[in-house]
Amino acid sequence: MTINLNPRTPGGPLAQKWDKHRFEMKLVNPANKRKYTVIVVGSGLAGGAAAATMSELGYNVKCFCFQDSPRRAHSIAAQGGINAAKNYQNDGDSIYRLFYDTLKGGDFRSREANVYRLAEVSVNIIDQCVAQGVPFAREYGGLLANRSFGGAQVSRTFYARGQTGQQLLLGAYQALERQIARGGVKMYPRTEMLDLVVIDGKARGIVVRDLVTGAIESHVADAVVLATGGYGNVFYLSTNAQGSNATAIWRAYKRGAAFANPCFTQIHPTCIPVSGEHQSKLTLMSESLRNDGRVWVPKQKGDRRTPRDIPENERDYFLERKYPSFGNLAPRDIASRAAKEVCDEWRGVGETGLGVYLDFAGAIERLGKDVIRERYGNLFEMYERITDENPYEVPMRIYPAVHYTMGGLWVDYNLMSTIDGLHVAGEANFSDHGANRLGASALMQGLADGYFLLPNTIGDYLATVKPEKVDASHPAFKAAERQVAEMTKKLLSINGKRTVASFHRELGKILWDYCGMSRNEAGLETAIEKISELRTEFWRDVNVPGSDVELNQALEKAGRVADFFELGELMCIDALHRRESCGGHFREESQTPDGEALRDDENFAYVAAWEYAGERQSPILNKEPLVFENVKLSQRSYK
């Protein structure tokens, strides 16, 4: 099979592409919309917004989520805010500036036209959310408040305390529930997608497992949307929710959807360090803490003194030392790597030695405890709840953790994958963040895709293609159901000695060590070998208790981890082939003389879209060249 990587970017000037494209797209007659069924998998910002909006337009929508309610999707955990080019602060922001910041922040590994459109619709998102009753922070005069975020030089971030993701998701969830009550959306909670069904080259439905009864069922549609989030949980320890998984996108990949830039993962510098083997997840501490906290480690190796006993001249404020102009506010990828470096030199702190101090003593002395409490009170409380240490008295300990995945299924300008009729939205696609995502941009992208892009482009697809009728008795559905049932049976029958979690933890460790913050050729080759061995052992020795006709959480996990093995391998293959450093992908072989990431635009200014070639076969690399007509590529520097 050859795949078509035509990005379908419309012609014309950058600022007019989306407008022009919307005019050129075909429309579905209002009376005909209800004749079309659209499946949406995932109910977060992208999925929830898409399902609600398409139902409002008149389509027949089926929406699926593995949680007990669509309101639980992991978008809910986003803290900081959402960017929009409103320029309410009159500080020089514009659509073009948001576009440029996002493209540059992504280290020039995303598509100009997509990113521009994202910046363009960002303003509509804020209007839409306010109309729904999202309680964004406001000034005393009643206007919306903004804050700056993630190193941007303008204040363009809208926020609802530290719960912006929650409030935006509840807005989408409430719109979705309204459509469910109206009958436009049929909701399937506690239901997991286990396969995609492709007939005559078009996505025509999915096979799911009812997580309560274990029943395997088929659902037919005229178009399918995957909005199932990122794959950070492949690392076992991440800031993702426990259930976040890659199964939907991975099984779509195995049915022919290309997977783009899988090695682009974001490692966030300010998370609470791992405390022991038992740890199940890592907790993010908002990046805003670096506005007032100073990051340091002892100068001496293995210095076990308590932080207050280490005198000023024996401390290394390494971010301030290495990046005097940005200091503690260096971007995420840079700050994470610097922390790893000092820990690799055995200068890390805490019991495990994998941590650095984030110290507020100076800020408290300068501003007073009350000001610090006002700014960060809830974060300090959360920190204390988890670590039992009081950050007003002792410095916080932080360490980088996996947070977001920029890679995902390849999509064109219409958010359609390499399979006709299969659309991918939110973190599940690769489209807008290049090799590094800026803070407060994930919420923006999820809602842009869900509210404003898909409802337009899916209409165009349906009006153009006019899918023929099929039903669930089609052999392709039956075959997929059989395959899913066989895999379930296999997992339950191995009856080995090791638990699913123990395999997952080991896989995560391999990826973290060799395909984490810093990567090199030998390490990646080792990782590929180790993952392959571990995967073989998994299929020989895993122990999945219980049966397939009940709620069986071990079985759910086993299926997800089985996919993580294969995805983890692809991530390493992708990281190995990309012999340049860019954004979150740091190849040790490609650095400047002073140890910074060195991009290679001549050889790697493309999207790597991997094509599935069969069980245990090397995947096929396809390239979509990135063409920059409006911006000049530059090296990022934060010295």
Binding site: T53, I76, R138, L144, E177, R178, S280, I386
Partner: protein, 250 residues
């Protein structure tokens, strides 16, 4: 730490359940409550037993999926804290811990500690929204909203929909959950057109789902991991009564 757990085990909705005793030995005080259960489940799996089913997802206190009655208290001993954020250092070494699912007629048990909370979604469906189809909104700064109103709306909007208020209430009432949404939307100018219709519809749905009535015990606000105030219930009652008095159409 060594603990004795009394855990509610129930194979299916219509089979009888019972407490089963498990010894949880060698538990680190730094574990979260759910990580402690993970460890117990790992050991059960290795012994060839079926692990304990419980709901959880984000493990940072925001998704509202976790739902345990710990020693008779919804979400356990720490005030303003969801189960996933409770750590083992809050318990005594050598102590007993009773772990049960949410208990309410409207929340049938699915298995062990997991319950079906879809009734809460249906309460939202009845009117817990502002009708604002995508695309029709005016500029976000056109309507001014006093800061105090937004702050009070946000206090109520912080609800994570976990159902602890129902589990804690002697009447299994969902009043705090419902009132939080009515308060959030009713305090904003955008929520005014549907304000009274919303109150009527949501309260009626709450009754239809067999939640009990509110007798202002106040257990709900004690159990709420987001510390939502019972004042919201007063507001709900006021909106409901006014809607009845002026004959608001459903």
């Amino acid at each position: 730490m060594d603990l004795t757990l009394h855990v509610w085990r129930q194979a299916a909705p219509d089979t009888p359940g019972r407490f089963v005793v498990y010894e949880a030995t060698n538990i680190s005080p730094d574990m979260s409550f759910l990580e402690m259960l993970d460890v117990v489940n790992e050991r059960l799996t290795q012994r060839g037993e079926v692990p304990i089913a419980f709901d959880h997802d984000c493990r940072e206190g925001i998704c509202g999926m976790c739902s345990l009655m710990i020693n008779g208290v919804a979400h356990g001993p720490m005030k303003g804290t969801a189960t996933c954020q409770v750590h083992m250092r809050s318990f005594k070494d050598g102590g007993k811990i009773y772990i049960e699912p949410w208990r309410a007629k409207a929340f049938p048990v699915i298995k062990d500690l997991t319950v079906d909370r879809s009734a809460l979604d249906r309460v939202i469906q009845a009117g817990g929204f502002i009708t604002a189809p995508t695309g029709g909104a005016q500029d976000a700064n056109t309507v001014l909203v006093p800061k105090d109103n937004v702050e009070a709306a946000m206090d109520a909007a912080a609800c994570i929909g976990c159902g602890a208020c129902v589990a804690a209430c002697p009447n299994a009432s969902a009043s705090l959950f419902t009132a939080a949404k009515i308060t959030h939307l009713g305090l904003l100018p955008q929520g005014q057109p549907e304000r009274y219709r919303r109150a009527l519809a949501m309260v009626e749905q709450m009754d239809l789902e067999s939640f009990g009535n509110c007798t202002l015990h106040g257990e709900c606000q004690e159990a709420c991991p987001k510390e939502i105030s019972i004042d919201t219930i007063t507001r709900m009652n006021r909106d409901f009564i006014r809607a009845e008095l002026v004959g608001t159409r459903r």
